[in-house]
Subunit: 304 residues, 2 copies
């Protein structure tokens, strides 16, 4: 069980040589996901030597350019690299039309299957799950329809206590999987060996919540409660709090309030407005409310 | 009369950290044009400190991603920068639908007027002119409908020969413009002073032809005859000439043949396939046919 989050870009609005718009590469429980895909994301993936052919699912929060203009380029590149593996794109209604129109007009049909899963609900929904991970939407409040995403590891199998297992000669290797699945062991003489004697608890499943772009929205707290890692946008410092309502963004302090109330283990701030040169101030203002704060930065890796 | 061409990107297919897809910033006779706009073009414009607010007209050759995926981002950035000046986009049919769909879905309507001029003709057409410059399409042969563009300065006004003018006391400052426009001067006594005595010829108008992407297509020669500067794609060296017909691209030697037959003053090569590491070979192969060859490279400036 592990989470490894690589920040590819974390600035708002417009890319420049040194500030890249939103994208994150998430490795969780052996799955590789991409979250948002601002212009130039494919270049960032190459720069940080991430094996982007591994990406199976892409989650787009909303249809503002700094969160998805790089998607068509990435899909085209997958095509040029002769990708064959299915690709799933999650996002707001409209994302499919945008991508398909461009593929059609450029006559660049992909060999791989491209699936779109468009959201329209205002409630949190389970949008993906397999045996290792589940993903839920986090409805946010922005100028256009926007979802954050909650990524949760599923509880894994129990770990064998080899020493205890070896004390019982009747247990053979072919029994191990049943024991790891939580079953007790029944000896030939009818004696039951309790599963708890033979195993350790599985590692605690981890979770990551991505919340961008949004105003301060306390009703997301019940969805992300006790999350291990929380990314929450902080476009502004307190000096520009008056802009939050009109632009539908949040301050660093508001992000920290969400983290505190959600009992998050750690908060990552990002989506900084380009008007701010000293990003340390975001951390300082957030830490007046919540201690465990880190600043997103392109290339930075957060591991749990 | 002058041409200043800044290469922003000149590689084919996919952008990486060090290879940028096609885009060029053309300053001609005090006009600022953008030619093609691959992903990341706005970052390249910033990197080379080009005042991109000056761009009034954008010319897109065709709807393959490496030539236009950066356009929507650039237009969005113009919006964020509160541009008010009209912007004209020229390109194949479909470019308008792609851009407008994304603007609509992101609710990012621009304050400036955005005009689209879509081409469908297979013949060369005059698509833009003002008092200083005219622009013609150059129909190319590629996998999708593609036009190159010929940019021509218009002939300017004649230059006053001040010494000659001063020999004639009757000529006043208010007469200068008529003389620069080519008129003879008529003295009060009826004597005619020939315009050629009073003026020098205007500078020779310059021209630039952009030809990408295309196979070797000799019927463009009549359109670009005697051009001062010619950019012609050279995706391949001779070793891969057999790929030209299927991919609809050209070799460096074929580009040089076009330059030679068109009597171009100088040829710029670009749109290199990423399979080639030593770009000097493109120059070497082209120079077996035509001497005045230069290699496009991001950041390089060509002035005439």
């Amino acid at each position: 069980m592990s989470i490894k989050l690589t920040i590819l870009g974390c600035h708002s609005a417009t890319p420049t040589t040194n500030s890249h718009t939103t994208s994150q590469f998430l490795e969780i429980n052996n799955r590789a996901f991409l979250i948002d895909c601002g212009e130039g994301t494919q270049v960032q993936l190459r720069k940080y030597k991430l094996r982007f052919s591994k990406i199976t699912h892409i989650f787009i929060s909303h249809l503002h350019g700094d969160h998805f203009y790089g998607l068509i380029g990435l899909i085209s590149t997958f095509g040029l690299l002769n990708r064959e593996k299915d690709l799933h794109v999650f996002g707001p209604k409209g994302i499919k039309e945008i991508i398909i129109l461009q593929i059609k007009l450029s006559k660049s049909f992909t060999k791989f299957k491209l699936f779109f899963h468009e959201s329209t609900s205002k409630d949190s929904e389970l949008i993906f799950e397999d045996e290792k991970v589940s993903v839920y939407t986090i409805p946010l409040n922005h100028r256009v329809y926007t979802n954050g995403y909650l990524f949760k590891e599923k509880i894994g199998e129990r770990k064998l206590n080899i020493e205890a297992v070896n004390n019982h000669k009747e247990i053979e290797i072919c029994d191990y999987q049943n024991i790891k699945n939580g079953e007790n062991f029944k000896k030939e003489n009818g004696e039951i060996i309790d599963n708890e004697v033979l195993t350790f608890n599985p590692p605690k499943p981890l979770s990551y919540a991505f919340c961008s772009d949004t105003t301060y929205k306390p009703d997301i707290i019940s969805i992300i409660k006790n999350v291990d890692l929380l990314y929450h946008e902080s476009t502004f410092l307190n000096d520009k709090e008056h802009l939050c309502e009109y632009t539908k963004h949040a301050t660093a302090e508001q992000a920290a309030k969400i983290a505190k109330q959600a009992n998050a283990k750690k908060l990552i701030l990002g989506h900084y407005s380009s008007r701010y040169k000293n990003l340390e101030l975001f951390k300082e203002e957030a830490q007046t409310v919540f201690k465990h704060v880190a600043l997103a930065e392109a290339g930075k890796i957060f591991s749990v």
